[in-house]
């Protein structure tokens, strides 16, 4: 399995389809039935982080097979109730700085509960005990003890044999949960699998950085500005704001945009989201015509359509009775 497997699942929601609507050509409605792809990092004020296990951004990643243990992972997340469940790429150093304000409650990192984490590192030492496989993982930022408990049932021998490949010096990707045993932090593993390509290290470190920055600073403005630049040539989008004005307007909107994810939405997208949300209580949601009517004078019907398509492809909206009616994916 290639190292990009985990990331490909995420990008799939954005690539291609995400920008098709932008250029207003094939107006194929994007029937987004899976969980939101955008805003997946769940910034504190981001309503797109669902509380249901399948809705969580992390579920997307866990659906990539980590050696069949994804099922165990999902199952245990469902048990955990309404607390936020996400799969976070982290470094050992981050685990060291994670805090546990209340004993036996989840650890906290960057202002969020830490449920399951992914790490990529090299095994410094490994040993097989009677009930578990223990190893020390070193990712260049520190070392952490990891334990994989053997499942009960007849597969113990198989499991032990599979784990035998994980010896000193081997690069692995692990998924697990941070626990404190006698004031020492240990990672209880759901899955271990070998890393074959150096690109996995690159990917993992970049993911850790991105998630950390998204949680602490919100998603970056450049992504949003890039979006605007792409919209500009098309329909003189935001022509009404004017060049310099638009930028200042953006900054002003920053504070108001907290509701829908800091820095993530352009003013038009923001407004569309707000209008559509007002129809959440109905079965069919907001009709495209009604939306265009409400936005007349500020945006043309084509622009409204293409923006709705984009939001839909990003997972913020979904079509209901037909492709001219939408509701927002977050409550």
């Amino acid at each position: 399995m290639s190292g990009y497997g985990g990331y490909g699942g995420y990008a799939g929601g954005n690539a291609g389809g995400g920008f098709q609507g932008q250029f207003g050509q094939q107006q194929q409605p994007h029937h987004q039935q899976q969980q939101p792809a955008g805003g997946g990092f769940g910034s504190p004020s981001n309503p797109f982080t669902n509380t249901t296990p399948t809705g969580s951004p992390g579920a997307r990643k866990a659906s990539d097979p980590h050696g069949g243990d994804a099922h165990a992972a999902r199952g245990s997340r469902a048990d955990a109730g309404k607390s936020e469940q996400s799969l976070r790429s982290v470094t050992v150093k981050q685990l060291q700085s994670a805090t546990q304000p209340v004993p036996d409650m989840p650890f906290r990192l960057d202002g969020r509960d830490l449920s399951q984490v992914v790490l990529v590192g090299r095994i410094n030492s490994a040993s097989t005990q009677s009930t578990n496989f223990a190893m020390t993982l070193d990712d260049g930022t520190g070392t952490v003890e990891c334990k994989k408990f053997f499942g009960d049932g007849g597969d113990e021998e198989e499991e032990a044999a599979r784990l035998a490949q994980f010896s000193e010096g081997v690069y692995v990707r692990v998924v697990g949960q941070l626990r404190a045993f006698a004031s020492r932090k240990t990672l209880v593993l759901f899955s271990v699998r070998p890393v074959h390509s150096a690109n996995e290290i690159t990917l993992h470190c970049l993911e850790a950085i991105t998630m950390h920055l998204a949680l602490t600073r919100g998603l970056p403005m450049p992504a949003q500005q890039m979006l605007q630049q792409m919209q500009q040539p098309q329909a003189g989008a935001f022509g009404g704001f004017g060049g310099a004005q638009q930028h200042m307007h953006q900054q002003g909107q920053q504070q108001q945009q907290m509701q829908f994810g800091a820095g993530m939405f352009t003013p038009l997208q923001q407004e569309i989201m707000m209008l559509v949300s007002q129809q959440q209580h109905t079965v069919e949601g907001m009709a495209l015509d009604a939306l265009a009517f409400r936005l007349r004078g500020r945006a043309g019907a084509d622009e409204v359509r293409s923006t709705v398509d984009y939001l839909s492809a990003e997972g913020h909206l979904y079509s209901t009775i037909d492709d001219a009616h939408f509701k927002a994916t977050s409550a």
Partner: protein, 107 residues
Amino acid sequence: MGAEATPRINSALLQKNVGRPVRLVGKVIGLNATHAFIEASDRGQVNVQLTAGSIIRQGVVEVLGRVNPDLSIAEMSSFMFQEDYDCDTYNRMVTLAHSQPELFGWA
């Protein structure tokens, strides 16, 4: 938990890390009985003094070793990767990671 951090470096970062254990990922461009010549992610060449029983061979490698004053690396242990390696992206990641001390702790 603990242990010394082992920064990921490229050839440009050797200077800053003299005396420290580091991780160097790169392509093996030359190999003899005592040394390996690695092209780091910034395309600079690094000399690695092989340890006894070194497993380094042709391909993409991560060398864990200590930086000597002459900017060569004394190998402690290595891991061979598959050929699939995007060196430019790796290099950008290294630069980025060094700007995130909270996550990596690499000075």
